[in-house]
């Protein structure tokens, strides 16, 4: 299994979960980031993710590998959607397994934080009022990007 991949298809949680199986692992923590029906007080209908795939895959794999070493994980993997998503779709999945729960929680949190900070993926939200916009990391809309 790859450490990190982009997926143009819906993320199958059951399949991904098996990527982190390990007989010495007592603790499994998984994070799913899903498309919410609102952001910053505006009603969201759908969104698109765009990625610079070549760099996103390299950076994502670097982050997951770094977490495995830093937190002494048994397994870790992450998948991020690209393309068009609707409310409730899983946008990103991160799963880790460790001997103990402290490392598992900390590592899973660290990976999603790093992905959100570093991996070249961009979200374009489509609002109920007809607007859309590329988002800054803090969830606000990039000035001038409203179509």
């Amino acid at each position: 299994m790859s450490l990190f991949r982009l997926s143009a298809e819906a993320i199958d949680l059951e399949t991904e979960r098996h990527a982190i199986d390990h007989p010495a692992a007592g603790a499994f923590v998984a994070f799913e980031g899903c498309v919410r029906d609102h952001n910053d007080g505006r009603r969201v209908l759908a969104l698109d993710y765009q990625a610079y795939a070549r760099l996103a895959e390299a950076e994502g794999a670097r982050i997951v590998q770094a977490a495995i070493e830093r937190y002494e994980l048994h397994r870790a993997a992450a998948v991020h959607r690209v393309g068009s998503l609707v409310i409730g779709d899983v946008a990103v999945w991160v799963g880790v397994s460790a001997s103990h729960r402290g490392a598992a929680f900390n590592a899973c949190r660290w990976i999603i934080d790093q992905i959100k900070a570093d991996v070249p993926i961009w979200k374009n939200e489509h609002y109920a009022d007809g607007d859309s916009g590329w988002l800054h990391p803090d969830g606000s809309v990039v000035s001038g990007s409203i179509e």
Partner: protein
């Protein structure tokens, strides 16, 4: 020399394209971005962006070579 520039997100919207091939005398990532700003009127300075060459993040002083793939990276919003 000739380089390929890819645009994403707000930069692609502003450039009205996702990719262009550019003949240039510039040799650093920084100066190639300055030329792109003149063509497309990008509002952001390099303090708001990162730059990647051939799939790796590099500094703005990176020396670009003929045939390189250059990408200006707006603030990311994955997850």
């Amino acid at each position: 020399m000739s380089v390929k520039i890819l645009y994403f997100a707000s930069l692609a919207d502003r450039a009205s394209c996702s990719e262009e091939s550019v003949d240039t005398q510039s040799t650093t990532a920084n100066s190639i971005y300055e030329e792109a700003c003149l063509r497309h009127g990008f509002p952001s300075g390099i303090d708001k962006l990162r730059v990647a060459v051939n799939g790796s993040f590099v500094s703005w002083e990176f020396e670009v070579n003929d045939g390189d793939e250059i990408v200006f990276i707006p603030p990311v919003s994955g997850g």
